[in-house]
Subunit: 217 residues, 2 copies
DNA sequence: ACCTGAACACCGTTCAAGT
DNA sequence: ACCTGAACACCGTTCAAGT
């Protein structure tokens, strides 16, 4: 289905260009006019395929979230859930612009709900109640999106440098612990393992909850 | 220090107006021209106080983050850290627009670092290494900002409704667990307690880590 | 059916000026 | 010192038209 219009245009082709533009220039650099230029068509041509900017970006999210699906492998509920969340994280990191523009709407396209289905099934099978499983997945979801939105890896080094500078400017009297921990705090801004650290704490806490409800296991 | 210029203008007065505008109309509704109108001055007047839009918004964040400081009370490290994170969450929920515009820069103003100082000192006193404490606070921070950015409470009900609709449209064959858990999943979109749930799992996981390093306690 | 330029109501910011 | 209109280079989108 590769473009059957006069100019070789199609919804998919437009979305490809949009994702390319978003990855390259960020959300700030994204505009309908620039996208049209990128595709070599008039701006208004895009409005024949999408009702407007918002609808185009929604369609982009919907399509991209289908690619987030991670291979669910064998192992304990905890191992499988961990893999699922790490796959979601990796998928988002590949396209940080998507996270930025998803702030204002819930993520409930069929593609995104595949992940929900997989996560819920892992947890319900493991003995969590449906309510616990729903809350747990929601927590993991918020943590994962927060991590990509507020600590995109491509920004890690500059954030680290800015943090060092800010910490050095503090008075040791008012900020004693931060003064002693300047290195560790700055490192945590650039540390790719921080996400895994928090994820493992969350999973540990979920495991404790599950064990307390099923003392036999 | 209430406005000493010809028009009664001051940096603080401008920031007050900016926060009011941001709370009322969201980041989409915020513009330099509208802020100037709101304040009853010419647009360019603002440029006498701030170099531009970005600097103005940065100043707004810096000032607002000082207000996040929660009263640190007595209790175990876990109780105190929990209160600190809940205070941060409540402060952000009061001004969701701030979260939106903080996406692109690290949060390292002195005001924000007060919270870091308090959290680091609680955890280091409790026996966490500086590295663990830094990672732990970073995880809590990402979780908290993610929760406000991707699940602002004022949007909870409409998100819940949209989720119910999306879940009902799914084929039970492809999404069996989600079909059974529709109520619980939809509820988790509107559930004010989801934040607390995830926070408590994180804290539980941190407690397990701490205990494993200090088997005596 | 598919595509588009012109026009409208918006932006942020530079510049040169007004008091 | 403090304030500002005009102008420039951008936006998204409506409308009326071109092929």
């Amino acid at each position: 289905v590769v473009g059957r219009s006069r100019l070789g245009l199609s919804e998919d082709g437009i979305l490809d260009g949009a994702l390319r533009l978003l990855d390259r220039d960020g959300l700030d650099g994204f505009s309908m006019r620039r996208l049209a230029d990128e595709l070599g068509v008039g701006t208004m041509t895009l409005y024949g395929y999408f009702r407007g900017r918002d609808e185009l970006l929604d369609a982009l999210i919907d399509r991209a979230s289908e690619e987030l699906e991670g291979l669910v492998t064998r192992g304990s509920w905890r191992v499988r859930l961990r893999q699922l969340v790490l796959a979601m994280h990796a998928g988002l990191v590949a396209h940080p612009g998507l996270v930025e523009l998803r702030l204002r709407r819930p993520l409930i396209s069929p593609g995104a709900l595949r992940l929900s289905e997989a996560a819920m099934s892992i947890m319900c099978d493991a003995g969590f109640s449906r309510r616990e499983a729903a809350r747990a997945y929601r927590s993991l979801f918020l943590y994962t999106f927060g991590a990509v939105a507020f600590a995109p890896p491509n920004r890690a080094d500059s954030d680290r440098a800015a943090t060092v500078e800010a910490l050095q400017a503090l008075s040791p009297a008012e900020y004693p612990t931060l003064g002693e921990s300047a290195t560790e705090v700055a490192d945590s801004m650039a540390d790719q393992e921080v996400f895994d650290f928090g994820l493992d704490r969350l999973l540990e806490g979920l495991d404790r909850l599950r064990r307390s409800r099923r003392p036999a296991a």
